[in-house]
Structures are given as C-alpha cells and as structure tokens.
C-alpha cells in the first residue's frame, strides 16, 4: 500500500499557546525572548509582531524600537517539546503513528486512515479546523514521503495535497531550505545561485556529493521517496491493537461497556486465529478534552475468553472518568502468549491448578485487590524454617524439590519468634516451664532438640535448638534456644509456633 504522511507545522507554536492562556495578548504584538550573551534575543513572535517586521534572532531592544507597545515574555526552552507531545497525543485520534518533530512540527503516518474522513481533503480540513479551534496557526500537508509533506507544509504555496508520486513536481519550485538541511549548506547553495530545488534536482549525483556532502543527497532522496524514512512514534504501536472511534462522544457507563465489548470481540477473534492468548491488556479512552483514561488487567494464563476478560475490565470501568465524553477507545494486548493447545481440548475436565475456572477466579481477585495479595508456596532447599519455602513465580510452576516430612513442623507459626522466660535444666534439656504472654505453662512432655544451623553464606547469627513441648493442658508449642547455653546472657529462649 502506498504510504501517506501528514506534516503539521505550528507556525507560532509557543506564542499561540501563551495567547490561549492570556487572551488579551491576542491583539497585541507579542514576542518571547531569551537572554543570550548579555542581551535579550527574540525567539518567537506572534502573527501581529511578525507582520510589523519583527524577526526571530533580533534583539529585543531593536524589536521594541520597531513596535513601541511590544509585549515581551520569557521563553521556556522545554516548552516546545511539552506542547508538541501533548498535541501529538491528542492527534492519535487521527492516526495511530504520530511523532513529534522539534522544534515546531508533528508528523503522522496516515496510511489507510483518510478514507474514514471521506478523503484526504476532508481529513486535512478537519485537522486544520480543530487545531485552529484550539488557537493554533497551522499548515497541514499530505504527501507520499515525510520529507515532501514537511517541505510543502512549510514552504509550499499551492495545494497542500501532494498526489501520490507527484513529489518531484511539488518540490521543484521550493527553496533548498525545504529539504531540512542546515543553514550553512543552504547558504552555499544560494551562493551558487541554486535558489530553487529544480536548479539542482537534475544535476549528476557525484557532483552534488562532492560539493555539498552526502547529507543533501540523503535529504533529497528522503523527500523524493527513494530513501526510506520512519517516524519515531510517540507511543510504540502494539502489534495487537484494536481501535474504536466513536461517532459521538461517549459519556455513559453503558456506552463504555459496549465499546469494550466490541473491542474485546475483535481482539479475541484475532488472537484466536493466531492461536495466541492474552496476558496483559490495556483499555484506553481518549477524551474530548485531550486527556486519556486507561485501565489495565492481567491474567494468570493466556486466554481469549471474552466473557472472562470483560469481567476483569468491568471491575475497573468505574474508575474511567468520561467528563465530556470519549471519542476513541483502544484496546492493546501488551503481552500475548501461545495458547496451549490442550486448553480447548477439554475445557471442563482439567482439574487442580490447571483448572480454567481457578485461574479466572485468581484473575478476578487479583484485579480487584491486587496480585501481590495472592500467594502460593513451593519448597525451597533450606533447613532454616523461615527459608524452607518460597513464593511460586507462576501458577503452573512445578516443584523443584520435595516438601520435607521427616521433622515435626508447627501448623501455626509466629512471623517473628517471640522471647519467652523459661526455667530449664542446663545445658541441653528442654525447659520445665515457660512464661508466654503472662501465662505460665508447665511442660509435661517434650521432644528434641533438633538443631538447625544458620546458613552462614546467607546470614550471621546463632544456631537454634528446637524442642516440641506439650503443656499440662495439652497445648503443643515449638520452642527454641538461640545458640549455646551461656551464663552471661539471660534471654535466649523463643517461642516460634503452635502445633495442631
């Protein structure tokens, strides 16, 4: 398909923005200035100042001499990029691939987009009108190449639509500066009397390269389409994306749900064809006022079950604030995985952790209250009780090692062992009684000790001698003495758990 590109040129980007914020500047001569070598230089002017003869690069003193009532404000160097990024995000409604072109332009890849507006003319008119309504003075051009669109938007005098394949004709009458080359090169071209592109477009390439370097040829080729050029998109385009532009702004909850349903249907149909399943997805709504509202979901297993995915999004839809309404919805699949072929073999018969219903349940719970609250544990090869298990990384993670069953372990454990007072025969006997939370327990039966050494390569500290003890009421506890018996230290007994 023949590529088509649109270039938007903001002639007075920053001054227009200032005027939007301070409407009284509209009818005044107004410039932005920045200090340079101890004087103030004009960096941007508005239409009115421009028509009075103020040029960029003049000193402010000179400018004030020309226009006595000149309004001057400080320029902000980072402003242009910020403004262009904002406008470019807004422009995603016109085409998915939008890139900013500093200092004052936006380029879009509009291949296959214009027919939705009923043709290129209507498309450009719509862009122009809407940006104008925001208060920006723009020129918009469309061509087969980025270079040609750029040149025609800035320097063209005739039609802003360069018909497919007509870029040579469109470029011929323009000045060499339309080729996006540096000022020194333009000066050299003009010195030789090459004031229009048609003067040198036919010259032999080796001669051009020798005199002006390869940059000129590259730029020329890019503008003519013999050299490929790409836009760096503001948001990288996801390979799995569905878009739904709305005829009228959507403000209601039901409207959003219908939009979501449409997009999910389309995306899942496509994923199913390619035997892929969704893992992470983002649903975005582009609001009329230029803001973007988004909600995201994740699943434990690749899936393209529309009903389930809809439920996951449904839990979050209410966080989307429509304000004046959404005019575009997009659904991106940020992460897709191969759909396991077993999955559709027996939807109902899979049991245990492979159960589809279970992973959908965990998706729902995770979506509502956070995935970090859901844990599954697998054994770890450590003797130290706190390290004897670790969280599983995925729901289908297989066990690397076995759960140990050769030693008694308490069913209830204290997150941190708590200090207890004991009286114990020395040096190696279990305690006779201990006091925990103010209650005295007389020990009737005991097992142990089981010595668990510190893993010195992980952590310093004392080893633990664990005892299983039972008090007179039949309660069973897990106690340990930290380190060897030591006369100089008094407290070294801890309670760590409760047996069933």
């Amino acid at each position: 398909m023949q590529k088509r590109f649109v270039a938007i040129w903001f002639r007075y980007l920053k001054t227009d923005w200032f005027t939007r914020r301070q409407p009284d500047l509209k009818d005044a001569a107004f410039i932005l200035a920045t200090p340079d070598h101890g004087r103030m230089l004009v960096t941007e002017h508005n239409t009115f100042a421009h028509s009075q003869g103020i040029e960029i690069g003049m000193t402010v003193a000179d400018a004030k001499a020309i226009v006595p009532g000149l309004q001057v404000q400080d320029d902000r160097p980072e402003l242009a990029e910020k403004l262009l990024t904002g406008i470019a995000e807004w422009c995603i409604r016109f085409a998915p691939v939008v890139g900013i072109d500093l200092p004052n332009g936006i380029t879009m890849d509009v291949t296959g987009c214009t027919h939705l507006w009923g043709g290129e003319k209507q498309y450009l008119t719509d862009i122009f009108k809407r940006l104008k309504a925001f208060g920006y003075t723009v020129r918009v051009a469309i061509a087969d190449t980025i270079g040609a669109a750029w040149a025609v938007a800035r320097y063209g005098s005739g039609s802003v639509i360069v018909e497919p394949g007509q870029q040579v004709e469109a470029l011929q009458p323009l000045s060499p500066s339309a080729l996006r080359i540096e000022a020194a090169l333009i000066e050299r071209l003009e010195k030789l009397g090459l004031r229009q592109i048609r003067n040198f477009i036919e010259l032999p390439r080796p001669a051009l390269r020798r005199r002006f370097g390869s940059v000129l040829l590259l730029r020329l080729d890019q503008a003519l389409g013999t050299e490929e050029e790409w836009i760096t998109p503001l948001h990288p385009i996801e390979p799995y994306q569905e878009r739904l532009p709305c005829m009228e702004a959507i403000v209601s909850h039901t409207g959003i749900e219908i939009g979501l349903q449409h997009l999910l249907d389309a995306l899942c149909r496509r994923l199913l064809q390619e035997q892929k399943g969704l893992r992470i997805s983002v649903f975005k709504g582009y609001r009329v006022d230029g803001k973007i509202e988004q909600i995201d979901i994740g699943t434990n297993r690749p899936t393209c079950n529309v009903k389930h995915l809809f439920k996951l999004f449904e839990l979050k839809i209410e966080t989307m604030e429509p304000a004046l309404g959404f005019e575009l919805f997009t659904l991106d699949a940020l992460k897709v995985e191969d759909l396991s072929t077993k999955q559709d073999r027996l939807w109902k018969d899979r049991t245990g952790l492979d159960d589809i219903g279970l992973s959908e349940l965990l998706d729902r719970i995770g979506g509502k209250i956070g995935v970090h609250n859901i844990h599954r544990f697998v054994p770890d090869e450590h003797y130290w009780p706190e390290r004897s298990f670790k969280p599983a990384t995925a729901i289908d993670q297989k066990l690397q090692t076995h759960w140990r069953i050769d030693r008694p372990r308490p069913l209830q454990i204290l997150f941190l062992p708590e200090l207890i007072e004991v009286s114990a025969p020395i040096p190696d006997y279990p305690p006779m009684l201990f006091r925990y939370k103010g209650k005295l327990h007389t020990i009737k039966k005991a097992d142990g000790p089981e010595r668990i050494e510190q893993e010195w390569w992980l952590q310093d500290g004392q080893h633990r001698d664990y005892y299983v003890v039972e008090d007179e009421e039949g309660h069973r506890y897990w106690l340990f003495r930290s380190g060897h018996y030591d006369v100089t230290r008094s407290h070294q007994w801890f309670i760590h758990g409760f047996f069933a």
Partner: protein, 244 residues
C-alpha cells in the same frame, strides 16, 4: 391402598426438606467419612455434609492450631485427587511446610492475604462460586447472618465446601452455617507409654448441627484418619502423672 402413617409422612417431608437446605446425598465422600470414623454419625445422612459452610470457633493461637489441624485433616481427604484449596485470611499464620505433615500438598494451597473483613468475605464468596476448587477456608472474626447466608447460597450453586474459622469471635449469633465446631487440644499420648509428644489429639465439640445431634468426641489424628479415643478423663490424668 395403604394408609400413610403420621411418622411416614414426617420422614418423607424431612427428606424433601434436606435438599432444600443445601444438603445433598449425592455429595457423599466415602473416603472422608471413613477417615472421620464415629463423627459422621452426628449427621442425619451419616455422612459429612459437603457443599456447605462449616463454622469453627477458635480462641487463641493454641485453639487456632488445633482447629487448623482438624480442618487440615478434613482437607487432606477433600484434596486427595490433585485438588486445590484457597485459604483467605487477614494475618496468615499457617506454616506451609507443616501442611504436608497433615497430608496436604502445600503447593496446592493458595493463600490470599487481605486486610479488611469485607474483602475477606468478598474473596471467599467469589472463591466458593468456583467449582474447580476442593474447599475454601476463610479466617475472620465475625460472621453476620447475612454474610453466612451469602456464602451458603454460593456453595449451593457450586457444591464447594467452605470452612469459616472464626478467630476470637466477639459474639456467637445464629447464622446459616450447617455446623458449628470447637476444637481444642488434648494431651497427647505416645504409644506404649514412650516418652515424648505423641500424635496430635483433640477434643472435637460439635456445638450446632442442622438436622443432627451435637456431640463431643476425643480424637487423635494418626496415619491419615481420625482415631476415636475413648479414654475417660481419670485415666488421662493418671497417665499424665506416670509420664510427666
């Protein structure tokens, strides 16, 4: 034509009422009933009611451990065929490796840690609706009648068994749970009067049961099933003296 006697009619009506109350005969789990031993006779169908909500009262960490042990024993039967259970709690105190000692694969247990009681109830209700699960355990302090009714309605659809462990309950009001249990530890006894701690032994109190008889048992968990120990208190005390 034989005339139905009054008792026949009563029996027939009671049988009709049982499924309406969420107790279904089809859900018999013979392995679980075998493991339960004499406890199963407390229920009208002589079988532990599955697909229902059971409530356990636990005060203090020691009782919680004993309750966990008893519930764990039931779970080991319910989860024996590669089953998965979900454990919802506010502050998780279960030590996963210890579940293996009760016969449960700890990696088949999914823990959900939540802060608020209403979140726990929501998660538990959602989980109970998922019929791929063997059981759902929820630890909470209070359970209102409405909440318990919601849980009961969820299991009637999915036939999942739910266990509500109420830790330090503030008040015990009536609710829609099928049973109410209280499990406390008893002094263990090693075989042949050997020294050391023996198999876990509990006093199992069935405080409330719908269509059944409340009762008290003393059971020991050994070799994967509940062993009924019918030793009178006096002997226990005497044995304690001998060993201690």
């Amino acid at each position: 034509m034989l005339k139905e006697t009054r008792t026949d009619i009563m029996h027939r009506l009671q049988k009709e009422i049982l499924p309406l109350q969420g107790i279904r005969a089809a859900l018999n789990d013979t392995v679980l009933d075998d493991a339960l031993g004499p406890i199963k006779h407390a229920f009208q169908t002589a079988s532990f009611p599955l697909g229902a909500i059971h409530e356990f009262i636990a005060t203090g960490s020691e009782d919680a451990a004993a309750t966990g042990g008893f519930v764990g024993g039931l779970l080991s039967c319910l989860m024996r065929n590669n089953g998965v259970a979900i454990w919802v709690s506010a502050c998780r105190t279960i030590f996963p490796p210890a579940l293996k000692l009760l016969g449960i694969a700890p990696d088949k247990m999914i823990f959900i840690d939540l802060k608020k009681e209403n979140q726990i109830l929501w998660a538990m209700e959602e989980a109970l609706k998922c019929n791929g699960l063997s059981a759902v355990i929820g630890e909470m302090q209070d359970l209102s009648f409405t909440a318990s009714r919601r849980l009961q309605l969820a299991v009637e659809q999915s036939q999942v068994t739910g266990f509500v462990v109420r830790r330090n309950p503030r008040k015990l009001e009536a609710n829609a749970c099928v049973t109410r249990w209280k499990i406390t530890s008893l002094p263990s006894e090693a075989a042949d009067a050997l020294p050391g701690v023996g198999f876990p032994r509990w006093k199992v109190e069935l405080l409330k049961v719908r269509n059944g008889k409340p009762a008290i048992w003393e059971v020991e968990w050994a070799a994967g099933h509940f062993e009924h120990v019918a030793i009178s208190k006096a002997i226990v005390v005497e044995l304690q003296k001998k060993v201690g």
